[in-house]
């Protein structure tokens, strides 16, 4: 196995194909026969469960409650907000019938099921739930005393995708969508930024992904929003992934749907609404951010198993003692906690070769692997291997020492992944002040990285440049200090505005 990698092709050979192979090797998900829809297998779904658990606690800690709204949206709802309807019309799955009828094929004699019971009004499967949740909000809100309304939903949504890709872009995906209504614009904007920060913290502290926080330009905004805040992650081919968005809707949806209330001066007002979401796309993001040519690399907090213990049993006579020692260690570890949750530990005592075992867990991205062999048993030692380090790196630790320091080993994995991702992003981002180098940048390499430029061009100019180079303004980064004035790369007008350009998924 000297220089061979567990995943073929490698990242540098063929990044998109490498991505598919990492997912396959880790047994995370697969395509189904339903067009564009994936099956999320237990290892992939386990990651999603951990993401959900962490985010859900953050939403609740900031005052949000979960609820559940219908999957099917009456067409009339969609028609209310024109921009929104237009934004999603081309990718809606439409339900037109409510039963099936068996019909015998006269030629083959086989029974075929055909749609029957045509609906007077068709429904679409929710591509997002602003319209159906807005209809509920309109019923619930009467007075300013009913506000704010802070609701989140964990659900499946559907957007008919023409070029699906596991986790990153699938016709059906799982997500959470927050929907809130407020008395004033100020409060709604504050909610939007609170969630923006929450997403950024979560990505950094749980997924070990540093993000650029910024605002979308008008061209890239959510259909119907007044402001879209985004967290943008750079992955290893230096493309951007929009990992989460938080939208301020102004009164666009509330006026279209009559989410109105009697205010403190006894006047009717429309509420200010927000919506925000992250999805199973986060799993695609973390794969592309951290994994290597040997497969998945998982940040410890979202690893379904954080530690795998492998008994090394060359001789039959010591076999049972070693297996027992492994289980005893696992039990002691499981009673310890990491970030408030009991450690997730697995003993792999299957009767298959040690090499096969090791590589399975390498490919599944388990942060720490522990081996215990006959000599370790005698000397009360364990052999520790970290997934973020070289595949042959190992250290021998006293069992007790390891038990005392297991959390710091897990922390170290998290920190090293985060640091690596930061370095990647720093090295992959350059500032650019003139159009000529801006234009040549995009053909300079397969992985050109991001450019930060002074920008005050129009929407049309932005769209033209974007189309020409297959890029987009990922965001106008939000930063504490205002940048100095510099000439816009296109118009030459002096501006303090900076745009972050890049290719994206």
């Amino acid at each position: 196995m000297a220089d061979k990698t567990a995943i073929t092709p490698t990242r540098s050979e063929d990044f998109p194909e490498w991505y598919q192979q990492v997912i396959k090797a880790a047994d995370m998900a697969e395509n189904s026969e339903t067009r564009g829809c994936m099956v999320i297998k237990p290892w992939g779904y386990g990651i999603w469960e951990l993401i959900q658990k962490d985010l859900d606690a953050r939403f609740k800690a900031t005052g949000h409650e979960n609820a559940y709204f219908p999957l099917l949206i009456p067409l009339a709802y969609l028609e209310k907000e024109a921009e929104h309807a237009e934004g999603f019309a081309t990718e809606c799955a439409v339900v037109t019938h409510h039963r099936l009828e068996a019909q015998k094929d006269p030629e083959t004699g086989k029974t075929k099921m055909i749609p029957s019971g045509k609906l007077a009004e068709p429904y679409v499967i929710r591509p997002t739930s602003e319209t159906i949740i807005g209809a509920a909000f309109a019923r619930w809100v009467e007075s300013y005393r009913d506000l704010p309304l802070l609701i989140n939903q964990w659900a499946n949504v559907m957007r008919w995708e023409m070029r699906p890709r596991l986790f990153l872009r699938t016709a059906e995906f799982l997500w959470q969508e927050g929907h809130t209504a407020h008395e004033t614009a100020t409060e709604a904007v504050a909610e939007t930024t609170t969630i923006h920060q929450l997403y950024s913290d979560f990505l950094r502290d749980v997924l070990a992904i540093p993000v650029v926080m910024g605002e979308k330009t008008e061209a890239e905004r959510f259909p119907g929003a007044e402001m879209t805040l985004t967290v943008e992650a750079m992955v290893q081919d230096k493309k951007a992934i929009q990992a989460g968005t938080s939208h301020y809707m102004g009164q666009n949806f509330s006026s279209a749907q009559d989410i109105s209330f009697v205010d403190r001066e006894n006047k009717k007002q429309f509420a200010h609404t927000t919506s925000w979401g992250v999805s199973t796309r986060l799993i695609g993001t973390l794969i592309m951010a951290h994994s290597d040519d040997d497969g998945l690399v998982l940040p410890p907090q979202v690893a379904p198993k954080q530690i795998v213990i492998i008994p090394v049993t060359p001789k039959e006579e010591s076999r049972q003692a070693i297996i027992d020692a492994c289980h005893a260690l696992a039990q002691t570890l499981t009673s310890q906690t990491f970030h408030g949750q009991n450690l997730r530990v697995h003993v792999d005592d299957r009767e298959i070769g040690g090499g096969q075992k090791k590589w399975e867990w390498v490919k599944k991205g388990v942060p720490l692997r522990i081996e215990i062999g006959p000599r370790d048993l005698e000397s009360h030692k364990v052999c520790l291997q970290r997934r973020d380090q070289g595949i042959r790196d190992k250290s021998f630790l006293d069992r007790e020492e390891f038990l005392r320091e297991v959390q710091s080993h897990l922390d170290a994995v998290h920190q090293s992944l985060l640091q690596r991702a930061r370095t990647l992003r720093e090295e992959g981002t350059s500032e650019c002040t003139d159009l000529a180098s801006f234009e040549s940048h995009w053909s300079s390499s397969d992985f050109p990285g991001w450019l930060l430029t002074p920008w005050d061009g129009s929407r049309e100019q932005e769209e033209e440049l974007s189309k020409k180079h297959k890029i987009a303004i990922r965001c106008i980064p939000i930063s504490e200090e205002v940048a100095s004035e510099a000439p816009c790369i296109l118009t030459g007008n002096p501006t303090t505005r900076r745009a972050l350009w890049g290719r994206s998924y």
Copy 2:
């Protein structure tokens, strides 16, 4: 408020309408404009989250893993298992188009969205996932070494309901569906009974609902199953609710879908499969089982708030001290646990009347209410009211004593609900050995209760009797001891088989 009840009508006046009003008064759910679909509001969804959390831990402890499969099922999949397809054909929502097109109405000038992009092969929204999960199992299983496959999915499903009723029967509902594949019939049957017992334990120990465990007759079996085990709950109008089912499919689905494996003798075999599920219907069941004429009554383990603390502040000068004492008590309580989870405690310090507060929490079914007033503050006492007891019953306890015994108070609520439900069921179930009294029983009262009879009639005879009296055999109860021989109420043939008959939801 002397003899007035919070809910109108009462249970005895109009049970179905009482049920709707309990849900409304507790703010749990409401109908939506999507036909037959409900909005589950935070208080109702909070109950579902607690149900999920508890069940999910039980499934994982018995070796199951969660995964996620597509919402849309290709029609061709449904056609494979004829009985199954027929069973669900009349209630399937069918997706036939994948986009919308804006069309201007020439008369009104308004833009209308119409379905466009017709699919060559339509899809149905899953009414249940045997067929789509089976297709994945067929890909995953090759050898006996791949078995057993123990998968669970938390998902929404859709069955077009003509007479929807909140929680009990809705077009879309939330559920879990377990799907497993095994090497042998023995193992698959063991899985089916393990889950049957798991459901029964959960209902008794968490929802405080005693159930009858039994097997469905052929007429009542899941379409495509060889055996359906059920847990049947009696609710307060003495009707039955099928609270959960566990099906042994034999090789019906595996042969239709080619879930096959190479066995230990190197021969191809079809796997033996099972499926099992419970849904948001459990919430309807618990409402009907425990609630009273003042509204919802929640078993403590699924109460989103288990304890509500209400400051009683008649005088402005002591107001802040009392509110502070309430929050301090809440904080101390929250650090305690009940069944492994931190206590869920809420201080209601809104500036509204005490009576209004009290009744809100009564109607929401919170197990324990605590009041602290000026005198209680001085004497270090709290005033405790239990939701399962009379609405005016209260006891004054030393604060420290209450803190020491809070878990036993919650346990007492659980036990009293369970005991009440047991008594209801015992009093509502009679044995019956002759046809004449069997037939007159069903018109004897609005709430006739269940009858247990010796039964060896045919499927046709069962269906005829059922139709005549709007009843069904809820199950053939499973019991440790075999009943003595007695003549079947219809055929007169001696039999040890007993059938449990009742009306149902």
